[in-house]
């Protein structure tokens, strides 16, 4: 399809939607995120049902330190902003700026992941291991599923950066970058809910 669409060498204004394949990808990915919403919704329900069942271990209030989590939240929210800058650069047809912003995004993602791993190790030292209680199992499942999504996103965006550097920004690579951006926003939104439901409610509720 790419052969037809940019035969004249000019990238269309919204390259992610220039081909039917691109439009299919974008729509399919939105739908996939709908399914992901159900997935995280179920994990949240499970966590809310089980969060007071500490089985003699530390409670949420004793465990969580809002400072570290707030820093992690700030980092992840900022990374969402930088991914928007990357997509804006793509729409201006500036692949170099786009790659730059994507790099910043995954660096923030790595920082977030580092803090999360640090946090998990600390909790484990305090006896809050995966098998300790229903609270701990549901906590690590929910937050760990999110962390796994962040890790996958980092690998995915790194791969896309490599592809864009190799082949340039085309109507084939643009939809990939665009949906990776959607994905990144999604895991950011999920984190906002985790911050509220797991950490803030854990501190006050």
């Amino acid at each position: 399809m790419s052969g037809h669409s940019h035969a004249d060498g000019v990238l269309p204004h919204e390259p992610e939607k220039a081909t039917l394949e691109g439009r299919n990808k974008v729509l399919g990915f939105w739908l996939f995120l709908g399914g992901e919403t159900v997935l995280f919704g179920t994990l949240f329900s499970v966590f809310i049902a089980l969060r007071d069942q500490v089985n003699g271990g530390p409670t949420a209030n004793e465990l969580f330190s809002l400072t570290v989590v707030a820093i992690a939240t700030l980092i992840l929210l900022t990374s969402s902003l930088t991914s928007v800058f990357a997509i804006q650069a793509m729409h201006r047809n500036q692949p170099k700026a786009m790659v730059g912003w994507l790099l910043v995004t995954i660096l923030f993602g790595l920082a977030f992941l580092g803090l999360e791993i640090y946090e998990f190790v600390e909790y484990a030292h305090e006896g809050h291991t995966f098998a300790a209680s229903a609270f701990s199992t549901s906590f690590y499942s929910l937050v760990g599923f999110h962390g796994g999504h962040v890790a996958f996103g980092i690998l995915w965006i790194s791969l896309l950066i490599w592809q864009v550097l190799r082949r340039g920004l085309t109507v084939v690579t643009a939809p990939k970058v665009y949906i990776a951006g959607l994905y990144w926003h999604f895991i950011d939104v999920v984190w906002v809910f985790i911050f509220t439901v797991v950490y803030l409610m854990g501190k006050v509720g």
């Binding site: 790419s2 997935l39 089980l50 995966f130 098998a131 209680s133 229903a134 896309l160």
Partner: protein, 614 residues
């Protein structure tokens, strides 16, 4: 052409099938694999009925019986009827909306292979460690390591997880295909009912399966990594599993039945030679059933102590579903009314479907009455009810669809006499097996028991039920013979073998060429092909000039990715995490290759299309 034709490797023989991304071939693979698992599930059903034909029978041991009922339910739902539904959706939906392909051909192939290897993983449990034996609903604590310490339930968890990936991919694929790839003029309110039903079913798959994913992950974490989701001694909650399972499980039954409703609408209109009565109310009813399907899950849990308020709400919501379902039934009857009816084999199945499904619906409303459900719960009344909806309803619908579209899919018409024999053996056997089970249930025979005592008044009814099951078996054998006999015949089906085809798939060759439509058709109304025929046209009017057609390249990656998941599943079941890691690495490696290998597919040139005379 300026863009040139990319050299593409065309495979032959078995590699052709392993690498195909053509939705029609994938549909055939789904039908074959689903049919195979249907025979396995049917064999399990026959063994169950042999064990129960007399009191205190010792044909199979209690342990084996538990494995049989678990695998019968799981196999039939996830590995037999869902794949056959996906098979028909793959073969027919793109043709009905005038599309050359589905939106994601590669994912389509991946969906098939993950389903297939998930199903194989589940079934090898019979030979390696014992099959799952905690029922198809796999309730905890029975399914926890405390009460099921063998690998059986691990097979259930991982097999269903892997095949569930396939269902989710299929759901997304059909949603995007229907939204983005309809031919010019094919508005939503001109889509055939089967396409509408597939669309709504796909939406339900998308929104229901992730809940099962989480449930299975939670059970897996509990069993393999000592998690505590469902372990009350560490604060876990067993009710949680029931909620999660049925939040998925109830939409699942509508995922199953809606495509059957769609098939019945197509078959009834074609063989009544009349426009479908109340098309827009039919669409509305389908969407409404899909919506209400998410609101009723707790009616499976009336006796678990949710309290009167919850029971009353779920009771009323459940009864509400009878309204759109009733709309559908009356619309079918009014379509038949005054039509010039032809009783072909598919039509027989469709006409048999209507009263049978209504009977299942009536017992459904009986079960929806929460106080009465305390009496019916976990008795054979429930078994009778859901077999009326899923076998008398869905399987009849699938038989109707398979007989109806067989010439379009394979280019050969099934033998009508054998088809009618299939119908009569199946429907008589069906009612003989299950009608009497209502009364067994009301007399107090619990479900899932491996035997019963003499003198309880169960003997004769169980014997009759077993004889009925044998008749259903004969019906299925008639169908298998029909398939074998037909496949030996030459491919002579015309474009419109039933002569009264109304929808787009009958406007093209049987079987459809790999690009489906040489020129995308212009859709000028509902029942697009019928409209052209009424105006004296032999074929659809084209919406575009003849030009090169873009095709996706075949790929072996979906197959290898699924093999990776299969290996990984084994690793988790037997706690060999290195093996599990290797399996996942294979799958992720294939995802990497898929992303980096640039593949634009190839083009079929107009000269080649004309040479084929289409």
């Amino acid at each position: 052409m300026a863009h040139g034709s990319h050299a593409v490797k065309r495979y032959t023989g078995i590699m052709n099938w392993l690498t195909t991304v053509d939705h029609k071939k994938i549909g055939i693979l789904y039908l074959l694999a689903g049919g195979f698992f249907f025979l396995i599930g049917g064999l399990e059903a026959v063994l169950i009925r042999i064990q129960l034909w007399k009191p205190l029978n010792d044909f199979v041991s209690p342990d084996t019986f538990n494995q049989l009922i678990t695998m019968h339910g799981t196999t039939m739902i996830f590995l037999a009827v869902m794949p056959v539904i996906f098979g028909l959706m793959n073969c027919i939906v793109p043709l009905q909306i005038g599309a050359r392909d589905v939106a994601f051909p590669f994912l389509n192939a991946l969906g098939f292979w993950t389903f297939f290897f998930g199903g194989v993983l589940l079934n090898v449990s019979w030979f390696l460690g014992g099959a799952p034996d905690a029922g198809w609903t796999s309730y905890v604590p029975l399914a926890s390591t405390a009460f099921s310490d063998g690998p059986g339930v691990d097979y259930y968890v991982l097999g269903l997880q892997i095949s569930g990936i396939g269902s989710l991919l299929g759901g997304i694929n059909f949603l995007v295909t229907v939204i983005n790839m309809r031919a010019p003029g094919m508005s939503f309110m001109r889509m055939p009912m089967f396409t509408w039903a597939s669309f709504v079913t796909s939406m339900l798959i998308l929104l229901a399966f992730p809940a099962l994913t989480v449930g299975l992950v939670a059970l897996m974490f509990d069993r393999i990594f000592d998690g505590n989701f469902f372990d009350p001694s560490a604060g876990g909650n067993i009710m949680l599993w029931e909620h999660i399972f049925w939040i998925f499980g109830h939409p699942e039954v509508y995922i199953l039945i809606l495509p059957a409703f769609g098939i019945i609408s197509e078959v009834v209109t074609t063989f009544s030679r009349k426009r479908l009565f109340g098309y827009s109310s039919m669409v509305f009813a389908t969407v409404l059933i899909g919506f209400l399907g998410f609101m009723v899950w707790a009616h499976h849990m009336f006796t678990s102590g949710l309290g009167p308020v919850a029971n009353a709400l779920f009771s009323i919501a459940t009864m509400l579903i009878a309204v759109p379902t009733g709309i559908k039934v009356f619309n079918w009857l009014f379509t038949l009314w005054g039509g010039s009816i032809k009783f072909t084999a598919p039509m027989l199945f469709a006409v048999g479907f209507i009263p049978t499904f209504v009977m299942g619906g009536v017992t459904g409303v009986m079960l929806a009455a929460a106080p009465a459900d305390y009496q019916y719960h976990d008795s054979y009344f429930v078994v009778a009810h859901f077999h009326y909806t899923i076998v008398g309803g869905l399987v009849s619908g699938l038989f109707a669809g398979v007989h109806y579209w067989w010439p379009k899919i394979f280019g050969r018409k099934l033998n009508e006499t054998l088809g009618k024999m299939t119908f009569w053996f199946f429907i008589i056997g069906f009612h003989m097996t299950f009608l009497i089970q209502h009364f067994l249930g009301l007399l107090g025979m619990p479900r899932r028991i491996f035997t019963y005592l003499d003198g309880l008044g169960f003997n004769e009814m169980n014997l009759i039920s077993t004889i009925g099951a044998m008749l259903m078996g004969i019906g299925v054998i008639c169908f298998v013979i029909n398939v074998i006999v037909t496949s030996a015949k030459p491919k002579h089906a015309t474009n419109d073998p039933w002569e009264d085809g109304r929808t787009l798939e009958w406007a093209i060759a049987s079987p459809a060429p790999e690009y489906n439509f040489a020129q995308l058709p212009l859709i000028r109304g509902y029942d697009a092909y019928w409209k052209e025929k009424r105006e004296g046209n032999k074929e659809m009017q084209p919406a575009e000039p003849l030009g090169p057609i873009h095709m996706p390249s075949p790929s072996i990656l979906p197959f290898i990715m699924s093999v990776g998941l299969f290996i990984s599943g084994f690793g988790f079941i037997f706690h060999q995490y290195v093996v599990a890691g290797i399996g996942l690495a294979i799958t992720l490696g294939c995802m990497f290759l898929r992303s980096v290998i640039e593949d634009h597919g190839y083009h079929i040139e107009p000269e080649e299309i004309q040479a084929k005379g289409v």
